[in-house]
Amino acid sequence: MNFTLRIWRQKNAEAKGGMVSYSVSGVSADSSFFEMLDILNQQLVDEGAEPVCFDHDCREGICGTCSLYINGRPHGPVKGVTTCQLHMRSFADGETISIEPWRAKAFPIVRDLIVDRSALDRINQAGGYVSVNSGGVPDANSIPVRKADSDAAFDAAACIGCGACVAACANAAAMLFVGAKVSHLALLPQGKVEARERVLKMVECMDDLGFGGCSNTYACEAECPKGISVANIAMMNREFLSSAIRKEKSSPFTGGF
């Protein structure tokens, strides 16, 4: 198969970037998207040009390293896959494919297609953890958890933190990412203890870092490679509202009751 690629090239964080066209030919329909980019990079090296830089690692859809905004969609046109799981059979022969980095104020570009996603870590650092009982190794039996709850918590914990939800969102909101972590921990008894405090801290941090608000387009759920549901956003909002109201009631500065 043959393709025309329009790729965002940018030397470093400060440099001005732009789209550059390349053509690749003789690509097998069974090659993965990254194997196709490897072919392009080999070509560029042969011509003495700088290869295109992109993030990848496990190439099996679990580590969350890969990104790419392909033809205007995070992780490309196929639902429920990461870019590394995308194959060229999903494109038409001769197609022009545009490849851009994630676009969000909170994800600055490092080089070419690589963005800095450490903002997501900072949100987790603000409260996305369990701190009760982690002082030592307890010898007692494990905490009993209903199967339905552990299954629901696991579904939320399937988030790989790739940031596709942010890239898909018109407001570059990180609601789905934060919602998944809030739900995962709030659904488990050991995480419930500090659930109220957690959601307040994480949402505050998310806002500070420049992520936008939610306008309920559900684009995040549609583009999430791991099928994380927007129900997690609803749960986060519920947790947030009830926590915020309680905080207000108990705060000496706002008067309250």
Partner: protein, 572 residues
């Protein structure tokens, strides 16, 4: 951050996977006043621990009420073909239940049984179902939990830093020289202690490997170049079920849930090799069985090579969707096969490094202040063959122990001073790869050829003539590597340079793998010599050591620590 870096670190942990993060968390708990950093070439939550699907063994006795720590110990020693050190296995299995519960307390969403206890599934080589899991994303969820804890506890992270070399003067380690991948700047980070937790080296088998691109054995190669011996490097585990084209792993859980291995005659051929355990025999045995079936002409043919079937169709759509969702996803995307309807095409794939940096039971190496834990270390708990579900356990248990030991001992060591000149030399060495004069070899070709020769000559079945060929190929590749060229000369995120540096590490280590395999004239665990088909306890019941002496590889040996269990023939 600038100011922070000028002061020496008490502990620098190289690698941010499960082992490194557990070490960091435990060290922080042991002494919160210590300055602890994790340095990782990827964001820690991207580490290869995330790809561990199956789970971690612990004798919780939730599923089989008569399970015990003692049975776990025996299964592990027998599985290792009696090459594991029995005191280390005691620690591994005794600590296991505590580790599972600690993770539970921190929010890891373990799958549950109807009685609300943690679910357990059967795994190869284990006498009872004792593998605790989070569906088929166990490593991923554990890694998230540990990363959250480290972020919360204030561990300093050097993310997207590539470790280059240890700085050593005499017998004393002074710190680490590393490159900031985002700027290309080489930095000297002085430290009282360094813990290597960089994972395995099986990516040297390239597309006949289940490992991520980054599993190039960086920690082992750095330790080896600094004169620290590596142990049992010839033991590379081949997992029986890699996807045909890419080598990506189909978890053993697929067989644990009841999947069949079937040849082109439609036979469940494991009946010939392990009549009792069938598909749930230990990995070395099942891999050899698949390879034998292929060699004897009972495989399926395809342009991507010969393969076998892993048949899950009889398990039904509900079970596959609920318990093996990731496997279904992978075989659909990478092989175009839906396991609900058709068998998955598989063949053995290089999967795990039993060998690694030689350590004692506390993760200490022979060099003061240098520790290692997890897959990059060799304590040894896996001996000649690792059991499924024991690798996540190994990184958690020994990551924790090494973190604790380093935290207790760090203040006994004086931090060293890394000179400007040392840093400059490292930078110089790297810039050399970019010089056009005399540099024309491409890393892609070298990497491909290394994988080929290893798979063909240092693979599942080995013999003297093949190993000699492998060794001479590796020597030739190492010569050609001296002329390798980095074409991208930019400082910012130079992926071309990083791949060349990883290849250097893989080449250094491949020599120790092939040399160890050539020296060990017996068959034990994953190491099968067709010219020496039997286990030879008299000559070879010992560990091999590989160390760099005067720029050359020198092989040595070390006795195996025995305990309650005497040597026995290993049958399943």
């Amino acid at each position: 951050m600038r100011f922070e870096r000028m002061k020496p670190f008490d502990i620098i942990i190289v690698g941010g996977g499960g082992g490194g993060l557990y070490a960091a968390m435990e060290a922080m708990k042991t002494n919160p006043s210590l300055k602890i950093a994790v340095l990782s070439k990827v964001y820690p939550n991207r580490s290869h621990t995330s790809a561990a699907q199956g789970g971690a063994n612990a004798a919780l006795a939730n599923k089989a009420k008569d399970d015990s720590v003692e049975m776990h110990i025996f299964d592990t020693i027998k599985g290792s073909d009696y090459l594991a050190d029995q005191d280390a296995v005691d620690i591994l299995c005794s600590e296991a239940p505590k580790i599972i519960r600690e993770l539970d307390n921190m929010g890891t969403p373990w799958s549950r049984l109807d009685d609300k206890t943690i679910a357990q599934r059967p795994f190869g080589g284990a006498g009872r179902p004792r593998c605790c899991y989070c569906a088929d994303k166990t490593g991923h969820t554990i890694l998230q939990t540990l990363y959250e804890q480290c972020l919360k506890k204030g561990v300093v992270f050097f993310n997207e830093y590539f470790a280059l070399n240890l700085s050593v003067s005499g017998s004393r380690m002074k710190g680490l020289i590393a490159m900031d991948m985002k700027t290309g700047k080489i930095e000297g980070l002085s430290a009282r202690t360094v813990i290597f937790a960089t994972g395995g080296y099986a990516k040297m088998y390239w597309n006949r490997s289940s490992n991520a691109a980054g599993n190039s054995g960086d920690g082992q190669a750095i330790a080896y170049r600094a004169g620290i011996p590596l142990k049992d490097m010839e033991f590379v585990q081949f997992h029986p079920t890699g996807l045909r084209k890419s080598g990506l792993l189909v978890t053993e859980g697929a067989r644990g849930e009841g999947g069949y291995l079937v040849n082109s005659l439609g036979e469940r051929f494991m009946a010939r090799y392990a009549p009792e355990k069938m598909e749930l025999g230990p990995r070395d045995l099942v891999s050899r069985s698949v390879e034998t079936e292929i060699l004897e002409g009972r495989g399926f043919e395809s342009p991507a090579g010969k393969y076998m079937h892993l048949d899950l169709t009889h398990l039904g759509a509900d079970l596959i969707k609920s318990r093996l969702p990731q496997i279904r996803e992978m075989s659909m995307y990478f092989e175009g096969v839906d396991p609900i309807e058709e068998p998955i095409p598989i063949r053995p794939t290089a999967h795990y490094s039993m060998g690694g940096i030689d350590t004692d039971n506390f993760g200490r190496t022979v060099m003061e202040g240098v520790y290692a834990a997890g897959e990059c270390a060799c304590v040894s708990v896996h001996g000649a063959n690792r059991l499924g579900g024991n690798s996540l356990l190994d990184i958690l248990v020994f990551g924790r122990i090494a973190g604790h030991a380093a935290a207790e001992e760090a203040r006994n060591f004086e931090p060293g001073n890394i000179s400007e000149e040392e840093v400059r030399e490292s930078a110089e060495e790297i810039r050399n790869y970019m010089k056009p004069a005399g540099h024309f070899e491409r890393y892609g070709a070298l990497r491909e050829e290394l994988g080929q020769t290893l798979a063909n000559n240092v693979g599942i079945y080995r013999e003297a003539s093949l190993l000699q060929k492998g060794m001479s190929d590796i020597e030739e590749l190492r010569e050609r590597f001296k002329k390798v060229r980095v074409f991208d000369t930019s400082d910012v995120f130079n992926t071309n340079l990083l791949q060349v540096l990883e290849l250097r590490n893989m080449l250094d280590l491949s020599e120790t793998v092939a040399a160890g395999a050539y020296a060990r004239e017996e068959s034990r665990g994953s190491h099968t010599r067709t010219d020496f088909p039997n286990r030879d306890d008299e000559k070879w019941h010992k560990h091999t050591l590989a160390a760099l002496e005067g720029g050359k590889l020198a092989l040595g040996e070390k006795p195996v620590t025995m305990g309650r269990y005497e040597l026995q023939e290993r049958t399943y």
